[in-house]
Amino acid sequence: MTPAYEPNMVLSTKTYDVVGTRPIRHDGADKVTGQARYGADVYPSGLLYGKILRSPHAHARIRSVDTSKAEANPDVRAVMTGQDLPETIDVPGADRRVTLGELSTDLKYLREGILARDKVVFKGQPIAAVAALSPHAAEEAARMIEVDYEVLPPVTDVREAMKEDAPILHDDLKTEEFGEKTGKVSNVASHFQHRLGDLEKGFAEADVIIEREFNTATVHQGYIEPHTCTVNWNKDGRVHVWNSCQGPFNIRDATAEVLDLPLTQVRLTPMEIGGGFGGKFEPYGEPVAAVLSKKTGHPVKIVMTRSEEFESTGPTPGSYIKVKMGATKSGKFVAGEAYLAYEAGGFPGSPVSAAAECVFAPYDIPNMLVDGFDVLVNKPKTAAYRAPGATNAEFASETVVDELAEKLGIDPLELRLMNAAKEGTRKSDGTRYRLIGCAEVIEAMKDHPHYTAPLEGPNRGRGVAVGFWMNAGLQSAVNLALNTDGTVALTEGSPDIGGTRTSIAMQAAEVLGIPAEDIRPSVVDTDSIGYTFGTGGSRTTFATGYAAYEAAQDVKQQMIERAALIWDVDKDSLDMDGGVVQSKSDPELKMTFKALAAEMNDTGGPIMGRGAVDPKGVGVAFAGLILDVEADPETGKVEILRATAVQDAGKAIHPSYVEGQMQGGTVQGIGWGLNEEYFMEPDGRMANSTFLDYRMPIALDLPMIDTVIVEVPNPGHPFGVRGVGEVSIVAPPAALANALYQALGVRMDKLPMNPGAVMEAVWSRNK
């Protein structure tokens, strides 16, 4: 049945007292008044300002670095180069990999990316740094450092980089083939394969086969707050880092590794974070500011400019992709083949393995072959970006699915539903799904009034697409401390990028039977909470929320024990529900949470709850988008007329912030689909490294983004939570391409689909 239209719908299967409501976020007043302190808002006594000198060349050998003029500047307090970081000695067999959020890297490459020693592999790679009395003085002094380069030819295109005669980025990097090191030096850092069933047999059964090639441009996460850090190397040898990051423990660990320090010597205080989207998991300035602080004896702050952000951090890879899919006349998918070549940037580590897992993930396809290539190019080393790897890959497969639907004469959502993955379906990597909401998402799209609403007028089209992302579990810790007025202090280690203080507190409140407002959540430093993996992988409300649930269960048990003490009864005869402790047999024995909290200090002292988890029951996520566009066949400009995003949240703890993730991801996906791109000059420079020229979506570009939250509870979480942060970015580029086909009759095979790309497609259609 088609439900009545509302802009934001929640299709709940289970309701709770606190979970599923929409309280005001705990950090709200701070953030609307300017009181919240972000990464750059740190001003310790005696602060100096650091500035990094970066390579103007995309590929060059460093012959020499002369810092003498900068050192002679009276405002300068210290100068450093890559020689001031510990050298990375290769120990055969030793694993020197460093985890960076959803990705990981080799320690040697991590150090070279922080400050180069002998060679630079992208424009903007750091070479040296200064600390001075003011930001202006530091900038001037950095320019006085003289570097002698031997400029080498760059390669910035993924397919060019794979050629035999391409310029080689790293002479010591040998291609890894199916998990084994080969002796071959090339820009292909690794090649792997997923195989399922019998591909040839599958294609032989197909009545319709579609094979297409795709190219997607490099794009940036585009968070509004640049990377920033302030570091004090204290006189006792302890290093204190204040920064804005997604993973305080990840960056503490990586910073300690880079500096060759024991973990306990580094303390990281996460300030409020102004967006990350995967791009704030890596140390950039932290080890540099640390060494400058050690040299000067003062705290040192480094704030990146926007151009430094584009040229030296992020981005997410450009890619070359081939997808071939086969279906029977009746619409059953029988075979899928994908070739995924992803840019790693200057150092290995693109998200191509995640892409391989995602490319056909929404569907039950018995025969699959996926080849993945991690390819070095002279661009900044890629970082995670919201469902890293998935958007490129599913742009390709979801446009091929649309073309299959057209050839088969089957409604595109109906075709997706016929082939939708479900519990037990095997993915290309061989694993089987647990309970998932893929079909439920597609059904909700079909049922939405938008899908059947009339769309009249020339050059208008409606497109749909579905996206998959795997989500993450990993480690989280939460402490709860009861106050005698019945409020509870909650400490956690997950930076709050989009309202997670509240979605975590709500889960503790639900267990304790108290209002969300009675929990006071704080994100604390790495000395003050157990190890917590960073805010990424859509994991925070799932895993840190799980830890809060466990901590609240711990408090609940202690409350029951205190009541048993007061009443002199066996604790097993008591129960706590809805914020009241009561006897299972004697209705007279009853005490509210608040009344019991008031007795805390007379019944044994502090009550503290502990939650420490590494939950394995990760709930994967599916999301779909219905998109109406109008395209101008004279100029190629595309206008978004209407958008409806549908997503399985498992359980939406705070529906407003789930909607926010869906809307934000959708709009990032629209920006990626229509506009965003690194324009690379032949010499490897980025030509558009400002917000003006990179041109992310603005309010004027968009309509309202309607949402439907589907709830297929994840059995691996007490309230059924799946992660919601990432998957919404996956479908938009394919939905746009499919809508453009309806509008103009052209199949788009590249991102972005900017006016130039649309006009090229129109002209080749008209030929």
Binding site: V32, T33, A40, G274, G275, Y657, G664, V667
Partner: protein, 160 residues
Amino acid sequence: MPTKTHVQTRLNGEDIEFLCEPRQSLLECLRDILQLTGSKEGCNDGNCGACTVNLDGRIVDSCLVLAVEVQGKEITTIEGVATPEGLHPIQQAFLENAALQCGICTPGFIVASKALLEAEPNPSEARIRLWLAGNLCRCTGYDKIVRAVMDAAGRMESAK
């Protein structure tokens, strides 16, 4: 020879004075000298709007204004929007509509929205989207921000 210039201005309803270098932007002085860190630096070239302040009744990117230019003028930053009695209706509407995620762009959006609603008490959705085109938000997709401004317009109207 002194290298700094003396500036007198009215900031969030108070007459103040400070010393700055002629090359320093208003944003730098607000943050580094006056310790008003509510105005944020997102790009330092006038393209993100995170540093939006009200200068003599007009919204400006404070990163594009030299501090020496504010001599004798009147500035309102995000720190001057709430009153001792409580939040401004726009601030309240942002909270109730969940119109912020990371919050780094929020001060700029609130200062810009306040200028709009003071000039045009009942703007259309299209007008709000045009007015806020100079403020980038990467988290929300703008939906809840636009709804919050429409909600705030209603609150300010009924409070009259």
